[in-house]
């Protein structure tokens, strides 16, 4: 039986003595990339240590207070902005369970075309679609994935699907990793009833039962290597919300797995100057840019009642566009509406009559992560010309669905076309060219791609097995290994790749123990 340690239950203070640990595998990060691997390796009988820089929050601590949970659960309390025109908000989770704790729970498989494009265009021929579907079914069964229940899904989704049906577009309710969800509509701020099977209530507790040790509030700063092999990590305890630094921590392990997410992993590699012979670490940053369209109906919608992300239209997936309904509680909607004084308050007073359609792109633009001073970082991301055209097309389709669903007014947040009152305005939007400067509220919820997987050391960071080209026994298993963005919510795909990578880590560990018998020198003895 392992244990879940946090700053409190270890009664850590500034002066408590440093912690010395050793294990078969050390996993940095407990999100969609780290937790499934921890569970898989722990059930194989290996000793696993998981280090998570965020804090641990039980389900009871989620009290529908969005701004409070944004400050506790999000990296930089939800205020990470990508530098570019327009600036893109990049919310990422920093808690036990990683971003899965604060995502909407949509569990979709990778589209067939995207996987084929990776196998052909990006040289990942070894990834076999049948093997991946085995992982997917195992995860879907473990996380109780099933389609959103229409009664609970809420009026916004119902209206959206009505409009899409009238236009003959293919769409439906989204599969979600939620068990008996009551539709509280605050999935992005911690599921109050524990229905959403995010990592902190599914893989992490199960891994702890199987013997894995999870340390929250523990920030990793150095990766220890010995003649080209990763042998352990170093870091220090730091309470997640205060600046207070705790004692140092050192973990020596046969295999080191980085699962810190698309922003955390490259920062660690760049600061340690590791695994970057190809110079690709930090580049090729993708985030699925999202803009929203707010239809205003004349009947009561009550958006906060119901599942926040429950329906989508995947008709235009081949054109890299997917439309998903997302509804927010009043304070988050107030944050998302980029309007000034009076028309902002006017829209907010109509809150019970508004819906929301998100337009997400599988973009071709790329960005970059750069480490900044004192553990800070900068995100550069500039949307390119083609994606601006796709985003405009997505907004046009979303507005057309909204009008078909009976909306009286549709707010699209593009300067010059702020409010569409009739099909005439929609036609004007269709005919006019839109530039990237006109987008006023763009966010990117799925960061991917900064440590690209590939078959050629000069243009990729990790092999298809997840092991880095330069450093042996150093694996990367999170969204940063995706060569391109995938067009749908990536959490299930990250978990599938994590399970696949766990298989290779297990092989490596079995190989490692045989090598130790022959040479008789254990790793830990070499360190001490």
């Amino acid at each position: 039986m392992g244990t879940l340690h946090t700053w409190e239950n270890l009664e850590l203070t500034r002066r408590s003595k440093p912690l010395e640990l050793s294990a078969d595998v050390v996993i940095i990060g407990s999100g969609a990339g780290g937790a499934p691997m921890a569970h898989e390796l722990a059930s194989e009988g290996h000793s696993v240590v998981v280090l998570e820089q965020g804090g641990y929050f039980p389900t009871e601590s989620f009290q529908f207070d969005c701004t409070e949970s944004v400050r506790q659960l999000y990296l930089n309390s939800g205020l990470t902005f990508a530098i570019g025109v327009p600036t893109v908000l990049c919310p990422v989770g920093k808690t036990v369970g990683g971003t899965t704790t604060i995502n909407q729970g949509t569990a979709l498989r990778i589209p067939r075309q995207v996987l084929q494009e990776w196998r052909v265009g990006d040289g990942l021929k070894e990834i076999d679609p049948e093997e991946m579907s085995l992982y997917y079914t195992a995860i879907e069964e473990f996380l109780f994935v099933k389609k959103a229940d229409p009664e609970v899904a809420g009026n916004n989704a119902r209206k959206f699907l009505e409009g899409a049906g009238r236009l003959g577009l293919q769409g439906g309710y989204l599969p979600r990793n939620a068990k008996d969800c009551e539709g509280y509509g605050v999935c992005s701020f911690g599921c109050p009833s524990g229905a959403k099977q995010s990592m902190n209530v599914s893989y992490i507790p199960e891994a702890v039962k199987k013997g894995a040790d999870v340390y929250a509030d523990c920030k990793v700063t150095r990766i220890l290597t010995e003649n080209g092999r990763a042998v352990g990590v170093e870091g220090f305890f730091k309470k997640h919300d205060t600046r207070q630094k705790g004692p140092a921590v050192r973990v020596s392990a046969k295999v080191v797995v980085l699962a810190g997410g698309t922003i955390g992993t490259p920062l660690l590699l760049l600061r340690n100057k590791l695994a970057n012979s190809s110079g690709e670490v930090g580049w090729n940053y993708r985030l699925h840019p999202v803009t929203q369209v707010i239809p205003i109906f004349d009947e009561r919608i009550d958006p906060h009642k119901g599942i926040s992300q429950s329906a989508w239209v995947d008709e235009f997936l081949a054109e890299r566009i997917s439309l998903e309904t997302t509804v927010l509680p009043p304070d988050m909607l107030a944050m998302a509406i980029p309007a000034a004084c009076d028309n902002h308050s006017e829209v907010m007073s109509l809150y019970p009559y508004t819906g929301l359609i998100g337009c997400m792109l599988r973009e071709t633009s790329k960005g970059r992560i750069v480490p900044g001073p004192r553990h800070g970082f900068y995100v550069f991301y500039q949307i390119n010309w083609e994606d601006v055209r796709r985003m405009k097309l997505a907004n046009v389709i979303a507005s057309e669905i909204a009008f078909a669903a009976g909306a009286k007014r549709v707010l699209t947040f593009m300067a010059g076309h702020n409010e569409l009152r009739s099909l005439q305005d929609l036609k004007r939007l269709k005919s006019e060219k839109v530039s990237s400067r006109q987008f006023m509220a763009m966010s990117g919820w799925h960061p991917m791609g900064t440590c690209r997987m590939g078959d050629d050391p000069e243009t990729s960071v990790v092999r298809h097995t997840g092991e880095t080209w330069d450093v042996e026994n150093l694996f990367i298993s999170d969204a940063s290994v995706f060569p391109t963005s995938i067009g749908v919510n990536p959490q299930l795909t990250i978990m599938a790749f994590s399970l696949r990578c766990a298989g290779f880590v297990d092989e490596k560990l079995v190989g490692e123990t045989d090598r130790q018998e022959q040479t008789g020198t254990g790793i830990s003895t070499a360190i001490a």
Binding site: T59, Q63, F64, D65, C66, T67, R71, N76, S77, G78, L79, T80, F81, V85, P86, T87, F144, K179, D180, E182, Y184, P192, S193, G194, A195, Q197, V201, S202, P205, D302, H304, P329, P330, D331, M332, L333, A334, M335, I337, P338, A339, A340, C341, D342, N343, H344, S345, E346, M348, S349, Y351, P352, G372, G376, Y378, A415, R437, M440
Partner: protein, 140 residues
């Protein structure tokens, strides 16, 4: 409340009434509470966000000084609103984004208060109570 948060709260307080716009049917705006909570929220983020946001507030006040030749505080509520409205519809992206960037924390904090949410039909207590009864256990 760190010194930075106090400074931010003080400078943003005069902006609160005009940024929130005309709110008929909503409870009275508690300027101090909204300003303090926005300060706590912005200062929780990385230092760059504080610099940009605080700089935005000063820029907005400077803009008021230049366009209406009177400091922002002394403008009437309607003049303030007219200025914010004009700036948010300008052709230049920077001027357009300024009132939105500055208004972001103020709006979030105001609409986060329980009494305001209740007006919008979002009753937090009953939801918490409901969630407590529906705790989900993941035994197979």
């Amino acid at each position: 409340m760190t010194t930075r948060e106090k400074l931010y709260a003080r400078t943003i307080a005069p902006l609160v009434p005009s940024t929130l716009g005309t709110l008929d049917g909503f409870p009275e705006i508690e300027v101090r509470r909204v300003a303090e909570e926005s300060a706590r929220y912005v200062c929780g983020g990385p230092p760059e966000v504080f610099i940009v946001s605080y700089g935005g507030v000063l820029l907005l006040k400077l803009l008021a000084l230049l366009t209406c030749r009177k400091p922002f505080k002394s403008l009437t509520l309607d003049e303030q609103k007219a200025m914010l409205q004009k700036s948010s519809e300008s052709r230049f992206m920077a001027l357009r984004m300024l009132p939105i960037l500055v208004g972001l924390p103020i709006k979030t904090m105001f609409y986060n208060q329980d009494d305001v949410c209740r007006v919008l039909g979002y009753d937090r207590e009953s939801l918490i109570e409901d969630a407590r009864q529906h705790q989900v256990s993941i035994d197979r």
